[in-house]
Symmetry: D2
Subunit: 361 residues, 4 copies
């Protein structure tokens, strides 16, 4: 285990937990020391914990399960001792996260894909390259709550690509108004049971409970400004319609945006191409070379062809064109890998940054 | 054949042509007397004309192919004599339509699913229940062009559901601005080859050539006002993003609309429910009972579950809710059967109306 | 309720239970008087019982839910009083069926889609048109067990099409050996959760637990001969490989069969076409016109195009051709609707027969 | 270009041609010097040649198109001068292959994925690790035909996995009889147009023209024995049913096999695991580490999870179990990547072997 930082993965058996394990296999900075999940899995080896009654091992992350992790014994999340852990990666469902994450945060930093604490005033929702200055809220949070550690949640997987592509537009031209329709992948619903074949084959499901509200709120918080002991949300309004389509991985989003001032197509593409240099260019182990890929082919981005760009850490945009229904209006589509940059690997990139800055380790 | 009106179907072998044949089987008013297609099919029985080199009969409409039609010999579209035909149903591609439809219109009414003449000043794009008053342009068209017949094209299949659901809103509250993202079915691309499996399985294709411009332009023309020798387009702006999803039939559209005045949820639903009474309520053989079905279940409409409502002639809406990014803003989703109301059966309903009014027959 | 026979549907909330309700809506002989399911559903209206936590009503049968049934209050299956019921339709899972079906059978006939009692010596597995003479075992069963009622289970949904297509071959030419590979629809796995999208999109799952053994055993029992107090299984051997494919409804099966004597293609097709006349030809409310449809087009049968033949009650065969690896060998494919003839509607057809013969009512 | 062997790829724009280009990018032994296709593509850069009328670039191989190849100008296949080429990789359709491959073979070795010459007496169908001794026929072929080069075709993509998995069984235990049902991926039908979405979504197509005959004949030739100036086919009989399923890549095959003598499960698995050592173990640039992967998990192999094992060059088997309908009968399933080991990359592996043996270069 040498000089790596020992970490725990909680909620390890779900889809997001599996993505954490896949992303942490052979990681140069962190080493998985503990796995935890619900009482149903506790006491079993990880491999047995993800085996269904039918005997099928349910492993959904790309690549095969690391053999060392496969044999780690899963602990019960509610009884997990995280002292000694450099960080806790939480892939818990919202309800257990609300109860357990503060218990962990009392002792160690918690990087979470759960929504439970996203909307608290002293909790930043960090996206590398977008708003890492919000990390300063961590100190406020520690003082407010008397914790040794802290909680930094990831955004919802649908927020991630939207916030990343809006960030450079907001910075340079100001964003006034956003309309977004998502076509989300099945993996976003997890695996217990997630979206069943009978519902999604040859179909579109026009509703994902609570999703639209999350995206609308989180995008404004992420692009907001640090304001003393909290974050002042960005002043623009976001309006979403979130749907589910028969796609395995990769959320597609159709965006209509009103900017605060005129911009040319080349200025917008330039802003995207240059965005995130501070964390991209492979600066951290999980960094992509470019946060945003800009496609000129009108038939792109496509989720099957673009979700794995830079191992799922790049957001791909295309079809940028003027929108005539808005002043300074533009339209584009984006594809973002919902279980990589949009979940575990995105959280890991945050942790890599926080480790470098001394918040973790 | 008795007292039915004899009609020709041109472009009969394609997907839209097949839908015409399916809709015209056992029709109480019209009887298919002639079938025409390209030279490749000419001289063959219809059944042989839709048989591929592999031997597979390619019939995509619901129900089985009518045996009488199966044995009709297909004529070459460019040599078709339409004198004696009460109407010509044209499912030609745009380019041959541009050349051939005027030749037919010189002798007989042409009801077309092709886009070739949709944007000409003296050509109405009719949707039953929405703008049948535009049929008065037919006289202008006849005089302008010296035709015995005329051309009335159907809207693009993606326009249909949008125009139908906007019409009652425009009538009662005024529409100011529309943003729409479509998730379109594979059948919209036809069968030669249409969308191939390798492109669409586990994927979304973010672009359909020329589709967005058509929807933006047609919606305003359809909801425009008859103005002497032409149509004054509705003054609102429509902005679209059109995508293709792994769905067989039924276009789903996510709509954001700004109204000209305040409305309540109940007023909007009421407007939808009452809309189109003049042609609905089974007034014509192809009429649905209600042009618009309003769903209260937030998980509806779904294309697989709702496309066949009223045999594909109803547009189903759901998820009506306020949009906070627009003044008097509302959001909803709709599902419309793209090859039934959105194509051949929609054209047939127009023809049924025109027959009643004496334009046909 | 008039003179209809009152029946209970147990396991009513699952996929097979829903198919029972769909099949029993407006049935001329039976009337649903009671609905039962697990304690989780007990006390709720049926409509509420099939509503998920997310709010989505999970109704998978074709057509919409009958409004009278929607408002029936679901009783707890373990406490259900079936006295007064003319029959009980059981769509229970195997384990609760083992416990509860005998309790019901003490008072009333139980027609079941569960496998629990299929392999007991005094229990016939009835398929209308195939082995209704096995119904005579019902008397033996009643005597053995001291029941007022009895249990007659349906075969597994994969057995149904195989047994129906082998029956006339066995009768006329003798079946010696059968190899079958199935490509089964997702609906066969039910809805709790059934097959999830992440597992089945762009995939084939090569294993369905216990399925092959069931098909191998049941086919021989169904085509066996009544022998005093039991059934002597047919002497041929059946070897199966059962897989799951991304299809919503309709099992496809590729069959290789060795016959006991030479046959011509026309003799085999003739045997299929004439088969089942005693129950087909719409003799019962749920009868198809023909039990078996024979296709000459080599591209048929296809599950999407053929599953709904005769409202899911016909088995469609095609691609009959000689097999060179077997003496008197033949190959063919079949499609059978797994949740209609292969489950609830098939069970209902059995009940219609048993009612006519005085076993029910 | 240095010391690499210059090669031409003919039929370069189709799916198999694209797979050749993907496999040859950065290849250590071969360098693509010429590209050829039909007259429709001739004179265009490769990138333009695979751009459709709609503007969409149709590139289906994994990875992106090599930029040097993208700008190569495509020549007309019928006018291609192959002198100076160390080898010609042909991905032509069967008909042009019959005409053009002999013209190329007069001057250079032709490694082909086309079926045109597979069944000629002096033409071997080579699979590395299975029957490379058949390469000796090349000399016979050259003498017979007076060619400087020769033709060695790959087997049909469905034959490949079957022949590879039967080879070690035939060698050790003797194969007597084979029944195989395939569930084939859409990519097997190519891209012009291949399988269209309207045909394959939510469906199985039970017939692939000429496929079964090819597999039945090729398997016996490949596992046959070199016999003077020809190959004596293996004496067993193969009976197939070939179907198409909604899977992008990777053919799944359910096999029932009768062996000539008793074998244990461990003996069979051992034979598979050890098979092909002479070409596997990464001996050639395109070699997998193991030709055959044996899975113990009954839910494997699955095409989506196993097609890319060893970059598509391994055949994965699973579910080995006894078959009770055959003497010494066994059943198993296999997954093989149809456009990699089953097509271009398999052909490339043959070429790597032939280059080492001095037949090429």
């Amino acid at each position: 285990m040498g000089h790596k930082i020992p970490v725990a993965v909680v909620g390890a058996t779900g889809l997001a937990g599996q993505q954490f394990l896949a992303a942490l296999a052979r990681h140069p900075v962190f080493e998985v020391a503990k796995l935890a999940a619900s009482s149903r899995s506790a006491g079993k080896s990880y491999q047995d914990a993800i085996r269904e009654a039918s005997g099928q091992v349910k492993w959904y992350a790309s690549g095969s399960l690391d053999s060392r992790m496969a044999s780690l014994v899963v602990e019960e999340a509610s009884a997990l001792d995280v002292s000694g852990m450099g960080a806790v990666f939480s892939a818990l469902e919202s309800e257990p996260a609300r109860e357990l994450e503060p218990r962990y945060a009392a002792h160690a930093p918690v990087i979470s894909t759960a929504s439970a604490y996203r909307y608290e005033a002293d909790v930043p929702i960090l996206i590398p390259g977008v708003n890492l200055d919000h990390a300063k809220l961590i100190e406020v949070q520690r003082q407010n709550r008397g914790w040794k550690g802290f909680i930094t949640p990831n955004p919802n997987c649908t927020t991630t690509g939207l916030a990343i592509t809006l960030a450079p537009l907001h910075e340079r031209f100001g964003v006034k108004r956003v309309f977004m329709t998502s076509m989300q992948a099945c993996s976003g619903a997890g695996r217990s049971p997630g979206v069943i074949g009978l519902d999604i084959i040859d179909n579109v499901i026009p509703y994902i409970a609570k999703e639209e509200e999350k995206v609308e709120k989180e995008t404004r918080k992420i692009l907001g400004t640090l304001d003393g002991a909290g974050i002042k949300p960005a002043s623009f309004v976001v309006s979403c319609t979130c749907t589910r389509v028969p796609v395995l991985e990769g959320h597609t989003e159709a965006v209509f945006v009103e900017l605060g001032q005129p911009a040319t197509e080349e200025e917008i593409k330039g802003a995207w191409r240059e965005f995130g240099a501070a964390v991209a260019a492979r600066r951290y182990p999980s960094s992509p070379e470019h946060l945003i890929h800009v496609h000129e082919d009108p038939f792109r981005p496509q989720p099957r062809l673009d979700r794995d760009n830079e191992d799922g850490m790049a957001t791909t945009v295309g079809r940028l064109r003027r929108d005539e229904a808005l002043t300074n209006g533009w339209k584009y589509l984006l594809v973002s890998h919902n279980t990589k940059m949009g979940a575990a690997k995105g959280a890991l990139l945050v942790a890599e940054y926080l480790a470098e800055k001394g918040y973790i380790g």
